[in-house]
Symmetry: C3
Subunit: 668 residues, 3 copies
């Protein structure tokens, strides 16, 4: 398929899980819904290899055959994230030992991905499946594994691998004792073989190093799968993976959770190397709580991994009962994915499961397979995307602002959380959401990424662990005129989460023009009339300008927000957490230093995203994340690609509840 002309549209399809044969009916309903692609097989190992080495791809073949007949493309997933019971029986060590003990058989993602038996049979099924399917004309790509992470594998054999890895990296054990502070509470050792089981560790640096080793294992596992697939696949077939996010359980105890921020258990930046097409799944509250922020966040994180379009491999149809979308919401979601640079939208999944752990994570079809309002709306989206594809496929963005993150920081702050259970991702989203509310687009990039030259503004929310190159690169960025905005707890520790023994913020006191060495929990403290919460650093400005102070009997002498001129640039530092609205004010003021201001006065719930089409036209998405009708005076001369209606500047532009307009700029 020509991804320059087409948008991928479809769903996961598991013929294996059907209660009766209805393949032809399903295919017809998919075609009616404007589908062009299905994703299959990624969790069906026991069906494909019922006994060790005995392959049976008949069900895969049936589905590819039928898809071919109905004109549907297929993404074939390797089934390695759910092992057959015979594998666990053959080698009990195939089930991972985690900090909680030996996993039981039953769930997916329970295996030790370092286990040789697992790797042996995984290699077998990957090879066999890819060889079996790669010549099929409608197979357009492969998904390797699914939502890959390290799954906490931490058994005795992992310890040995870890000890060897540590030896390779650090050479002498004294270096390890020093670097990780192992002398504390008598944890120092005299040889690498004596390094203790990290699952008992109370030393955060040591435990975090093991977590890094676990992540590298997961990253290597994906590269290993990718290499196997590459040996067999056709050149025109892509390799993708389904990146997920930190899964946050619903605070109100409802079933399931949502894509709540960057993933702690694998580094997306490093594992992107294993893919030729970035894939992801994004889930979130909808109904009254639909905000679009997770869609935008996911896109702004995925897109810069390659600075290219990415595929939404899974998105919600009916999903949990709490998520049954209101009329129009599915359309709004689909348009929002495209607005963020997705090259396609696939749903999880076609039909609801009749027994299993995910029976109440409903698909497009309910358990009765009959059309329903969800199917009907997806059908309308499918028809519309066929029309829009030539305009929207290959949309590009060029953002000047980046939020800088890393996986070390999210993990380190799980050990040393900010007050009130405020996680790394909470603070990241606090910053992200402020920009989102202001309709200021940004990229989310990893601190290891070397090239910051495309950006004018870098924002560091709680970048607790500063890799050794980050500080000099920030200095250089400021010197050449960049604008930096950092929050509390940034640059506090090195990449091993060892707290820096010099003045805070480490290596940047002259850049920020201030320092601090005490912090406390804010109780009845205000800043600019709003409450300071969760954390407060007692900033002592040297040359920095004080933009805000704490209001408190004893802490009133300290600064909360500072701004400093360094080189040709400006460095802002915020020592506490303020309400989002106040943060928006601060960010707007900071952006002035970079000469950036929002394109319009539109604010959330009216969301504006834009890009440049392959034809070089500016495309704007105007998205109404509310149940109120909205009318604005058009700031542009444009045409709504969905309705064909033209607008001149100042014309009334109306959006119904949860409505979306796609506005192509008029060429004069």
């Amino acid at each position: 398929m020509d991804r320059k002309q087409q948008l991928i549209f479809g769903s996961a399809y598991y013929e294996e899980y059907l209660p009766y044969d209805r393949l032809e009916q399903d295919m017809q309903m998919m075609v009616d819904a404007g589908f062009n692609t299905i994703r299959i097989a990624e969790s069906t190992w026991s069906t494909e290899e019922p006994r060790p080495g005995e392959y049976d791809f008949s069900r895969v073949d049936r589905v590819i055959d039928a898809a071919q007949r109905y004109g549907l493309n297929v993404i074939v997933g390797t089934p390695t994230y759910a092992i057959p019971h015979w594998l666990a029986k053959l080698d009990p060590d195939a089930l991972a030992v985690t900090a909680a003990g030996r996993n039981k058989y039953g769930p997916r993602q329970n295996m030790d991905i370092s286990n040789p038996t697992y790797r042996y049979y995984a290699e077998g099924i990957i090879k066999a499946l890819v060889k079996h399917t790669c010549e099929r004309p409608n197979v357009i790509g492969f998904q390797i594994d699914n939502e890959t992470k390290h799954y906490g594998t931490a058994g005795p054999k992992m310890l040995i691998l870890f000890q060897r890895w540590m030896k390779e990296r650090f050479g002498t054990i004294e270096k390890v004792n020093d670097l990780f502070g192992l002398r504390y509470w008598s944890n120092s050792v005299t040889c690498f073989e004596d390094l203790p089981d990290p699952t008992g560790a109370v030393n955060a640096s040591y435990a975090l190093e093991f977590a890094k080793f676990q992540r590298i294992l997961a990253e290597d596992f994906l590269l290993w799968q990718s290499d196997i697939v590459k040996k067999y696949k056709r050149d025109d077939q892509f390799i993708t993976q389904n990146f997920d996010y930190e899964w946050i359980l619903f605070p109100d105890g409802s079933q399931g959770g949502y894509s709540g921020g960057i993933q702690p258990d694998i580094c997306h930046y490093k594992s992107a190397r294993a893919m030729t097409l970035i894939g992801t799944d994004i889930y979130f509250f909808d109904q009254d709580r639909l905000t679009g922020r997770e869609i935008a966040f996911g896109g702004d994180l995925m897109r810069p991994l390659r600075y290219d379009n990415y595929l939404v491999l899974e998105s919600q149809a009916q999903a949990f009962k709490e998520w049954l979308p209101y009329p129009g919401q599915l359309t709004l979601m689909a348009m929002s994915h495209l607005a963020s640079g997705a090259c396609g939208v696939m749903y999880w999944h076609w039909h609801s499961i009749h027994n299993g752990p995910e029976s109440y994570w409903k698909g497009i079809l309910s358990h009765d397979f009959a059309p329903n309002p969800t199917y009907d709306e997806i059908r309308r989206i499918g028809q519309e995307l066929k029309q829009l594809a030539p305009k929207l496929a290959g949309l590009k963005k060029d953002n000047r602002i980046a939020i800088v993150v890393n996986t070390e920081s999210i993990n380190a702050l799980k050990w040393f959380p900010t007050d009130g259970g405020l996680s790394y991702n909470d603070v990241l989203h606090w910053v992200y959401d402020a920009l989102y509310n202001l309709n200021i687009e940004c990229d989310i990039i990893f601190s290891q990424q070397q090239d910051w030259s495309r950006y004018d503004v870098l924002i560091f929310p709680q970048l607790y662990c500063a890799h050794s190159t980050v500080v000099p690169r920030i200095r250089a960025f400021l010197e050449r005129g960049g604008t930096v905005f950092a929050t509390f707890r940034s640059f506090f520790a090195d990449k091993h989460a060892r707290i820096f023994p010099d003045c805070q913020p480490h290596g940047l006191t002259d850049c920020f023009g201030m320092t601090y060495n005490q912090f406390t929990k804010p109780v009845d403290v205000t800043v600019d009339g709003v409450p300071a919460e969760h954390w407060m650093e007692l900033l002592k400005p040297d040359i920095a300008e004080v933009k805000a102070k704490y209001n408190h009997r004893y802490w009133g002498e300290y600064a909360a927000l500072t701004r400093n001129t360094f080189g040709k640039g400006h460095a802002w530092y915020l020592g506490t957490m303020v309400p989002t609205e106040k943060l928006q004010e601060y960010l707007l003021e900071m952006l002035e230093d970079a000469g950036i201001q929002p394109e319009t006065s539109l604010r959330w719930p009216l969301i504006l995203r834009s890009g440049v089409s392959r034809e070089g036209r500016k495309i704007r998405f105007l998205l109404n994340y509310s149940q109120e009708d909205q009318t604005v005076a058009s700031p542009w001369d444009c045409i709504d690609l969905r309705t064909g209606r033209h607008y001149r500047v100042g014309d009334a532009l109306s959006l119904g509840d949860w409505g979306a307009a796609i506005l192509e700029e008029d060429t004069p």
Copy 2:
């Protein structure tokens, strides 16, 4: 004893646990309290068999002897629910392995009831005890075990038994893979010996099948005990068991819990076969929170197991500190048990324990053995029951309304709970309580029970799992003129909790005249001016009459309550949860279809229960579940059997706080 003339009255008595010898004093105090029966021995295995095979029944003998002298009958309990330590030492596997690992020695009910060593010694002590005591004239019956359940036994040997059982039932493994949806996440297997340990299962249907196997084990265990006892006991001696209920922990964190609904871990319907006299224990909040609902519920569940009187083997005396009864409450409770059809009331237990896990679950006597207000009130009850027995023994009921339940549904909904932690029993009690508040008596029956001919109305609260015969029987019931009332989530899955792949409600869309295939969580939704909560099905009436709709911007087009005429009958369906008061309105309207209305306008806290005495007279219990005095105009010509006072219709009939009247209908 002649249970046609006498009501059993007494308590459990554990001479073994006394801190000093006071047998004679206790007996005298019991006789003074009007006791005629004690229950002994049911947890004292280590005393009766201090070493393997060495029996010592001297303490049992002492107590039976003394009871004989004082004119007290004895129920002898087999001690099998608390194993001696030597048994756990002899065979470590006697302690069950559950999903949480191997049980430790210490608590009761920690054993694996499938363990052969346990069974061998259990058989020994049962035989020896029954042989030793069955000839004693004052031994009137035996209790087999106590509050029997499967206790979660799930070790490696249970797995083998389960695999064999599955093979016997299903024959081929493909049938199992299909039926239980094992292909999901690669859980399918190729032979029965490969079926995985269900304690790790994420497949609800598979895990629930194992739970059923566990329940059958418990049911078979009771039958096995019953068969042993039957070999030795006299014909006039009964066999009973102490059925308990789902034990719900107090929501406010207080010590203990209460009898909160049907029991998930054994099926009372199936295990009733092991008994000649149904026995039960019922516990609940009292003081300001005494409502009588658990007493009524327990009776309405126990009585239909045999359509006969049942014995309350345990009820609360002082119990937890939170439960110390107000003056009059013990009397009200005793009368309420009789009002539900109990043939006797026994307390747990005689004296408070001086050290042990249940020291603060106090008996009739406090730790000082002195008379106290609790003893004094029980003494008055005992004297009164002697007088009332000829009138009240053998009371019968003939209810036209049944609530239909099954054990599969309660377990399935633990996997797929309704929103907000609302359990099966919560919904069951919601429906039951509505009837109770209206003073409409009902039976609670199991869906497997074949004979529905005695009922005019069947109510199905969340009957999630519909056995294959249920649907055709409902159709037939409606056709012959019955009235059916079903709530949300009924008939959704088969007995294996596999969701039906056809239209909902499965097999009954024409009966209910509506269908639905989407449901959501109600947020800010009202129905008839009251909030809809926890669950809402988007009902699409076909031929049904819409009795209520949802009030909501997006869901307003769907029905919440429907009524349909089918055959000669009427079928009601309620798709959401409304406050109890509103449910009462709906039920009253529904009952009109069956020509039923409450006998009086009395409502909770004034409770009216009635039955027919052996003499054929209508007996009404009027119970005041409040601390307010209550006066009503008597709707009947009657005599209060407690006071001897006669009432004519319209006479002022007064009840003090927590008062009870027993009104025999005047024969004209």
Copy 3:
């Protein structure tokens, strides 16, 4: 050092944990801060003995050398509370098995202190370290271990030791079956070797006896360490230990906890024998929640162990972020420790740790080692204490009131908690705080302590377990004219937590002139216009005077507070919990019976503590535990030792926020 002329002032110092060599700088900063003492080495075993039997005290030497040069004394701690990994590897049993399973390596205090391998190597390092350092002139004492407790050790070998210990104590197994009520639920056995693993016990008495065995193990362990040290140390060197308290987690979920009451896992009274100088650490909320109560409580518990001054080995500097002290609070804390009879104040710890579990338990210095407000205030305190030492060193108290506690009661009430999670220590603090608020000083003593002759008033808050001698001693105390005040749940059970089978309060019904045998949870009950909460005993006065009754429809006939004259004394009994203000009223009224009244009308937040200096002068500490300035009319002719200012009776005496005055009585 002459502890009659000097106050110990300093901190823990861990050169081993420094990220770079800064020994000289640290020493200089300490000297500048007025330090005279540092504590070293108590958790650095792996540094001192990197391989079994290979000792390396070079870092200890370096620090002692430097300290010598800078005029600092050293307390050397044995490092036995944090084992090296090689020890866990050498003997896996060195890691304790607790009720939760085998400990992992990593944390401190994870070992089995009964393990022979642990004891062997512990003896080795203790001997080697003490021998190596005891001749150093500036080593003034040794700390044995740290915050020693039993750490829940409960493995199979502990069971064997326990069975033997039980045999030695009780002789016959029948006595054990009787005493501990083991027949309950078939737990009785026929030989000591069959006594079951107490970690599975549901019998509280049995489990509590094992807990006592565990405590004795910990107490013996300290004596054993002490004996080893005594063999080598100089006569002028002291032996101390760092007693801690029950560690209560912060109710709001903040990091860490606080010293919340007496320690359940070791008996301070018994283990005080192992020391020549009582040492302790005390931690608590500060900032807005600083009350001083934990400081006073700790002092009042430590001081009577020897009726001598004690050393505060650890107190908070910056600690948790929530605890960063307000200006002046560190000074107030230091003065308060001295006001309670401390002979010195040491901080934990010098510098914040750069990686490890306690990185955010900050020391005097932040991670940057730079001076900061905390260091600056400690420096001012150090200078001041040098001046004050001749006046304050050796301060004595002679309190007439004692609160009587025991460790059995705190543990027993964990099994049978008072309603609402109210712990033994909560009730203890409720009583203690009432006295503290009233500025009435008391001792806290253990019930085993035989000599009550120095007291006029004894208070028993929930003394649930009454040792056999307690009751006769109370009778004698009353007879000779003493005043007794007991709360609910006192004298209820024996020292084995076996509930007494006679009338309550056991053996004291004539002393109190009342009895009770029922109790309940108070719901909507008031006493003297305030709510009764958590527990209520239904007191039935015989000859006692009713001081207060319950106000409740059903419980109104019972007394809540009684007073009785017995012998020459008076016995008060309070059957429920009332707000602290009401308790204060009751206590004041009770104290009148003993002729005691508060010295002044000052109440918390103005705290008054006093003692007699070595010179025989009365010294009063006036402490302002609030952020309001306070001015009072001086009740005394005195001089403020801190300011040199003289006051005559009636002069205005002002204290700033968190201020402290030390007032020496003027001699006429």
